[in-house]
């Protein structure tokens, strides 16, 4: 079992990883950038080590600095969190070479899954539906980056004349962390839902499928509100997706916690989108409905333990997560977060914390759960009303407005956002 872990991330996910480690009795070291010295993770971890300047490329994307920090602090493993280097096969490979356990799939798997275009080809060969390819003369179409970026690389081209401009801006928007600038083109589908299949797989080939998540409320293709279990999708369709997921996991030989993303169109056709070979932001809703600690699963599997979960875990209740983000940088001088039964807050901020301009604007994840979906929505509304943040503007009103929509309440709402 792992003894000491270096957390190569920041923000709420760093806090989240420390929480599980403390329960498991694992010592923690947080690698932080210069401006992140005042974050909650640095305060909570057993040790903290500065790995470079505020800019991500100098710190959280700086592979040699992170590995050096891990060695110097005597860590036997490292957790990459999400974003930054979490799906970087080079990073996983070099960690392995340095004798440090990378908490995540092994580097050869990451190499396979990281290339979205190649994964799409693999899926197609297995008979899993994928979004048809397009060529630049048939607009409208979608430009996607082979190396992901959580939707950042996606550009919609409406006219042939805009193609070059869109390609250029797609390249520009991917200036951090993701190597290569390969793009592929896809036809535009009549998008209805974005479904995540969460799974846990071990090194011995045992695969557990956890309840799927509905991540269909997005802004600029960045998820904003997620929930589980999925409503408003036929059960048979979901089962087919799960079966396809298992096929793909076996084919790749995936050996940790991951997610397979599918898109569903209005005609109820589904398409394989990608594999996320890391912990996801919205893992919390799955944890709430199953009672499983996914970070713990990651650590146990990376330590070589067996997956002891059943093949299929079902949801005991309904959970919704809202991502609270700051719209500007400011000092949070008055601050109050929701409390109460079945309300979970994953955050790293505190009274007087100044939001950093260098990183993702997520400041807290508000998760509520209940037996009934409608009651969960009411709980979320109350939770959002309890949020008092002065000093920076947040998206709390937009979140509230979304979950108050008639079509959200019946489960038919989806929004993915224009990406101009």
């Amino acid at each position: 079992m792992i003894q000491k872990v270096l957390i190569a991330n920041r923000g709420e996910i760093a806090v989240r990883i420390i929480q599980t480690c403390r329960i498991l009795g694992i010592r923690t070291v947080v690698a932080y950038s210069k401006c992140d010295k005042d974050t909650m993770a640095v305060f909570l971890a057993d040790e903290a080590i500065c790995i470079g300047d505020s800019s991500p490329s100098d710190s959280y994307l700086n592979i040699p600095a992170i590995l050096e920090a891990a060695k110097n602090t005597g860590c036997d493993s490292l957790h990459p969190g999400y974003g930054f280097l979490s799906e970087n096969d080079e990073f996983a490979k070099r960690a392995h070479e340095s004798g440090i356990i990378f908490i995540g799939p092994s580097s050869n798997i990451l190499e396979k899954t990281a290339n979205k275009f190649r994964m799409k080809e693999t899926a197609r060969k297995l008979g899993i539906p994928v979004i048809p390819s397009a060529d630049e003369d048939k607009c409208p179409l979608m430009i996607k980056s082979s190396y992901g970026g959580g939707g950042k690389g996606i550009k919609i081209v409406k006219n042939r004349g805009d193609f070059d401009y869109c390609l250029k801006s797609a390249k520009l928007s991917l200036n951090t962390g993701f190597s290569g600038d390969n793009f592929f083109l896809e036809q535009i589908i009549d998008l209805y839902k974005h479904i995540d299949i969460q799974f846990v797989a071990d090194k011995f080939g045992k695969i557990s499928i956890l309840p799927a998540r509905d991540c269909s409320v997005q802004s600029h293709y960045q998820k904003v509100i997620e929930e589980t279990p999925v409503s408003n999708i036929p059960k048979e369709l979901l089962e087919k997706m799960e079966q396809d997921a298992v096929k793909l996991i076996k084919e790749v030989g995936f050996d940790n916690v991951g997610t397979i993303e599918f898109l569903v169109d209005k005609q109820m056709n589904y398409y394989f989108l990608e594999i996320n070979s890391r912990l996801q932001v919205e893992h919390t809703v799955t944890e709430e409905v199953t009672g499983i600690d996914l970070v713990e699963q990651q650590i146990r599997i990376a330590s070589g333990q067996k997956n002891r979960l059943p093949m299929k875990v079902s949801a005991k209740k309904c959970a919704i997560e809202c991502r609270l983000s700051a719209k500007d940088n400011g000092e949070l001088n008055i601050f109050s977060l929701p409390t109460g039964k079945d309300v979970r807050i994953d955050t790293y901020i505190y009274q007087g914390y100044r939001i950093k301009p260098y990183y993702d604007p997520l400041i807290a994840k508000i998760i509520v759960s209940d037996k009934e979906r409608r009651r969960a929505i009411s709980k979320m509304k109350l939770a959002l009303d309890e949020i008092i943040i002065l000093g920076a503007h947040t998206n709390v009103d937009e979140l509230y407005e979304t979950i108050s929509r008639e079509d959200y309440i019946v489960g038919s709402y989806s929004y993915f956002g224009e990406n101009e």
């Binding site: 008092i388 009103d397 407005e401």
Partner: protein, 540 residues
């Protein structure tokens, strides 16, 4: 307000937005049909069309006039995009609507401005329309009521827009010459182009609560002058205090107030011939007792008389220059069926009121307010009733800075040639310039317990004997009682004094009787008589 209160308001506003329900921009609560918050009485901006709808709901009639001027064919300015957008947004064809209204039998021309159409700015077409409205009213002898709103001049039209202000004022000048009333209702927001041309030039200026009224917008003040301004800068209360407004009136009462004002400002006044006469007295009271009485805190003050004399007085505020002097109550009302303008000096009944009212010491702005009311009375053929009770004109820094001496002499000069009967009654303390400035009248009476003196006894003692304690022997020498004044021939009558009710009746009767006596004279004779009276005031 605590952070939780703010949060509550934020949530209320958001919920209203989700339900697509109009909400109070101040507290987030529900609005009534007049767009006034049911909770905090905050007045939201009201579109012009909605105002017309309300006039009609109240049984009034509205007929649009001059709509043909909306399309200004000579317009070649490049703002058609915004213009078209606002046309669709408001359902109007320009930001000004002119119409003829009939409410409760009162007919008037109304000018309504729409803030949501090009910010209610004055364009060439608008300027022409407003000018025509004044011309139409002048020709057909109708009052004008303007509901002002909006920013300044439509800058996109350049100097052509600017000169609309002067053009409108030219027609307003002719309109005023005809002696017709103009009531201006200032709504949120009213600025430069409107306020600096006709908006604040009403015979009566009424503002809706929480309106912003000013010359230059707050942003302009901030950006160009880099000046920090107070939170209430340009608020209706601020303008009221600066003397620019007569009153702030809630939206539900505005139409009634307009009707009441038009009823008084219609130049039809009747004076009944048969009146009961007041009871006269000899004023045989000892000076020290008289002094004790008028200094008594439970003594009746101006505001007590005001509400006893008039059923429903309309108090008009402000000198239209810089301040509203609270020690002087002025306005319009009816006494025994006679429409009257009143000027009443008002001391306080307690320490708080005394501080608010400067202990009844009239400030220069007070005299200027009196002049304004006298001129208003003259224009609308209303007699003026002046009740005097003041320890003197304000002698302090605030008064000197605004030329107190000039204000007093101007008050006298103006009252001398005010072409309407003036009745003055000393109800309490008549002291020095404070009393004299407002004593210029056709008849002057005193209550038996009132005083009229060159200076207050305390100041007299301080100046002559170098000690402020009042000496009893000095009081006799000062000769300030009603009897003294009557014997000197400085006052016409001494009115018997009693309870507040009795005193009020005495004032009513004396006022009515005096007006009957004065009605024998035409205006020229009246002014000659007044001149001779003042010229020979000290000749018994």
């Amino acid at each position: 307000m605590s952070i939780l209160d703010e949060q509550k308001i934020k949530i209320k506003k958001r919920n209203a937005r989700i339900l697509n329900r109009p909400a109070c921009s101040n507290c987030g609560d529900e609005l009534d049909e007049l767009l006034v918050c049911k909770n905090c009485k905050h007045h939201e901006r009201m579109p012009a069309l909605k105002r017309i709808e309300i006039i009609r709901k109240n049984g009034g009639k509205f007929k649009q006039l001059l709509a043909e001027y909306d399309i200004d064919n000579s317009r070649t300015y490049d703002y058609s995009e915004k213009f078209e957008r606002d046309k669709n947004r408001t359902g109007l064809s320009e930001s000004v609507i002119v119409g003829k209204c009939k409410v409760n039998g009162k007919i008037f021309i109304t000018i309504l401005m729409e803030r949501y159409f090009m910010v209610g700015t004055l364009s060439k077409a608008n300027g022409e329309k407003i000018a025509k409205a004044f011309e139409y009213a002048t020709k057909s002898n109708l009052p004008v009521v303007a509901f002002c709103a909006g920013g300044g001049v439509r800058m996109q039209e350049g100097a052509v827009g600017l000169v609309q202000m002067a053009k409108i004022d030219a027609t307003l000048m002719k309109f005023r010459k005809k002696g017709l009333p103009f009531i201006s209702v200032l709504t949120d927001p009213t600025y430069g182009g409107t306020t600096a041309s006709f908006g604040l030039m009403g015979d009566i200026n009424i503002a809706e609560p929480n309106s912003s009224i000013g010359f230059g917008g707050k942003m302009l003040v901030k950006d160009i002058l880099h000046e920090q301004v107070a939170d209430d800068f340009q608020s209706a209360k601020y303008v009221l205090k600066s003397g620019g407004l007569d009153m702030i009136c809630e939206r539900k009462d505005i139409l009634n107030t307009i009707i009441e004002l038009l009823a008084i400002l219609n130049k039809n006044n009747s004076i009944k011939a048969e009146n009961e006469k007041p009871e006269y007295d000899h004023g045989n009271k000892k000076p020290e007792i008289v002094l004790q009485n008028i200094r008594n805190n439970s003594k009746t003050v101006g505001i007590d008389y005001l509400f006893k004399l008039f059923d429903n007085p309309i108090i008009l505020k402000g000198d239209r220059i810089s301040y509203d002097d609270p020690s002087l109550l002025t306005g319009l009302g009816e006494i025994s069926g006679i429409k009257t303008a009143f000027i009443i000096q008002n001391k306080g009944r307690n320490l708080r009121e005394n501080i608010e009212n400067n202990y009844g010491m009239t400030r220069p702005e007070g005299f200027r307010k009196a002049i304004r009311i006298a001129k208003l009375a003259e224009r609308f053929h209303l007699p003026v009733l002046i009740l005097l009770d003041s320890p003197g004109a304000h002698p302090g820094d605030v008064a000197e800075k605004n030329c107190q001496s000039i204000a007093i002499s101007e008050s006298m000069l103006n009252l001398l040639e005010t072409k309407t009967p003036i009745v003055s009654i000393v109800t309490g303390e008549g002291c020095s310039g404070g009393a004299l400035g407002l004593s210029i009248s056709d008849v002057l009476a005193m209550f038996s317990g009132a005083t009229y003196s060159v200076i207050s006894p305390e100041s007299y003692s301080a100046i002559i004997f170098n000690k402020p304690e009042v000496q009893p022997e000095l009081l006799a020498n000062m000769k300030f009682t009603a009897k003294d004044l009557y014997n000197e021939g400085l006052v016409d009558e001494i009115l018997k004094e009693g309870t507040l009710e009795y005193n009020t009746l005495q004032i009513e009767r004396y006022f009515a009787e005096s007006l009957v006596r004065l009605s024998k004279f035409d205006i020229k004779q009246l002014l000659d008589r007044r001149y001779n009276r003042i010229r020979n005031w000290d000749k018994q």
